[in-house]
């Protein structure tokens, strides 16, 4: 099956933030409504960008940035959520393979087997968020966008767009086959360059083996708050590629060695010390 992807066109986004809540609506996040006044403990830190960060209940949020160039102000909006990388650090590092690529190319996860170990903080985009057990204070589960492929809430399998994409009034978000969107995204960026946006950039085309959320930007990625050259951290590569096999190998070699030792040493002991006597 062809990989699916989301194309975000920053030049079309008006920051209505429908996507931010569409995601909550569909995924039933924030279901408990506080009963007391001022029960939502959020504060405005001097920005439209609230809540300040992603959370287990906020899988996508709109970001706001202001820049000034040659006396002209620009108000830039961006989408922050899971990028569904092809070389996904979280998939790479997850000891239990609870985080995985599904057949649509999206990075989904199995909440039943997630132990909350937190290894997926390896994410170069800082996306996974964890719920704490209220009683013990121990992190229990990771949560993040699944491109609406969560089992039981899988819109893609039902032939629907992800909730955020459906919600977008200006079609700043598009959903479809990744190959098609790559072509479209490249074309849009080329058009932007012709229009004089010399720093225009198509983000996600090649980054981390290709993201499944791609960005048409009229400015450099850093201006939009995206890391210029995201990398899977070495420690994350080390995990599944080195540590886990090393664990199996060292453990295995040790047991093999001990087993061989037993056979050899037993023979030796019998022949050397107590010929003819069987042990116990």
């Amino acid at each position: 099956m062809a990989d699916k992807a989301i194309l975000f066109d920053a030049t079309r986004c008006t920051a209505c933030r429908g996507c931010q809540v569409a995601c909550k609506q569909w995924n039933t996040n924030d279901e408990v409504i506080p009963q007391q006044q001022d029960g939502v403990k959020e504060v405005n830190t001097g920005s439209y960008e609230n809540p300040a960060d992603l959370s287990p209940q906020t899988w996508i949020k709109t970001t706001f940035r202001e820049i000034e160039r040659n006396g002209k102000v620009r108000f830039l909006f961006n989408r922050r959520s899971c990028m569904h990388c092809t070389d996904a650090a979280c998939v790479k590092v997850c000891p239990n393979h609870s985080v995985y690529h599904n057949e649509d190319g999206a990075v989904s996860y199995d909440k039943d087997t997630c132990t909350g170990c937190g290894y997926c903080v390896a994410c170069p985009f800082d996306v996974p968020r964890f719920t704490k057990n209220g009683l013990t204070g121990v992190f229990t589960k990771m949560d993040k966008c699944t491109l609406c492929t969560t089992p039981g809430l899988n819109r893609i399998a039902e032939g629907m767009e992800p909730a955020c994409v459906k919600s977008c009034p200006t079609d700043a978000l598009l959903f479809g086959d990744r190959d098609e969107l790559v072509k479209l995204g490249r074309k849009r960026v080329d058009d932007l360059k012709v229009k004089g946006f010399t720093n225009a950039y198509f983000y996600g085309d090649k980054e981390l083996g290709g993201l499944h959320v791609m960005y048409v930007l009229d400015e450099a990625p850093e201006v939009y708050g995206l890391p210029k050259d995201p990398k899977v951290p070495p420690a994350a590569i080390a995990w599944q590629d080195v540590i886990q096999p090393m664990g199996w190998a060292v453990g295995g070699l040790t047991l093999v060695g001990l087993g061989l030792n037993y056979i050899v040493a037993r023979e030796a002991k019998i022949t050397r010390e107590l010929p003819g006597k069987k042990e116990e």
Partner: protein, 239 residues
């Protein structure tokens, strides 16, 4: 020759050992989930990670309490882990022949712990510190530390896990399964369960130590407290 038993590990030491064994096994099993993905289903709702934390606290708390009650013993034990000599090198040279071919001839006389035991004990102390340090980062600094820091803490913790895990196999094997360690009552197993080893065993495998304690005994020349070190026949049990 009559069986004579020599006390190798005092009761508090043994209690500490088994207490730590229990904590370590809990830590080992709950940690092993990360290496055996199908076990993850058992880790639902973070309870294995809670056990891991509780066991970690116990693992740290027990030696600390021990050291507070028996500062002398603790200091001696620590000193032992860091006291190495040329005899240890000889032991290492002789070890393959001994452990594979049951050829004891090249074995130099050993102290209270032989070199192998000392290595285990040394690594236990060192990796204990590593576990505690990296575990503390993972537990307490998760929200504050940079992800890279967290990841390297994980890395170190897990490398330590692999090394100590492998050593645990060796330790168990040598303690209870190696052909030379049989029958169990004579050697290490006995030392850690009942606290004593046979004098014969002590003389054979820990000659230096045996000499030390017997020399001390001679110096006190039939002193009334002889029983303290040399315990009389446990005939009923061993006879």
């Amino acid at each position: 020759m009559a069986y004579q038993e020599v006390e190798k590990y005092s009761k508090p030491v043994r209690v500490l050992h088994w207490f730590n064994t229990a904590s370590f096994l809990l830590l080992f099993i709950t940690g092993l989930i990360l290496f055996i993905p199908p076990l993850a289903i058992a880790a639902q709702d973070s309870w294995t990670r809670l056990i891991h934390r509780i066991a970690a606290v116990l693992l740290v708390a027990a030696p600390v309490i021990f050291a507070l009650i028996y500062p002398g013993k603790a200091a001696r034990a620590l000193k032992e882990a860091f006291t190495w000599g040329s005899g240890d090198l000889d032991w290492l040279k002789a070890a393959p022949a001994y452990y594979f071919l049951a050829d004891e001839s090249a074995m130099p006389p050993q102290g209270h712990m032989n070199t192998g035991q000392k290595m285990w004990w040394f690594l236990t102390v060192v990796f204990g510190v590593v576990f505690v340090a990296t575990g503390a980062v993972m537990w307490f600094a998760r929200d504050t530390i940079a992800p890279t820091g967290f990841l390297w803490a994980i890395f170190t913790h897990d490398v330590a896990f692999i090394v100590t895990g492998a050593m645990l196999f060796v330790h168990l094997y040598l303690s209870v399964a190696h052909p030379l360690m049989r029958p169990l009552r004579t050697g290490s197993w006995s030392a850690m369960t009942r606290g004593t080893v046979s004098a014969e065993y002590a003389r054979a495998h820990h000659a230096r130590w045996f000499e030390e304690i017997t020399a001390a005994t001679h110096a006190q020349a039939a002193a009334a407290n002889r029983e303290k070190v040399l315990v009389g026949s446990h005939g009923g049990k061993t006879g």
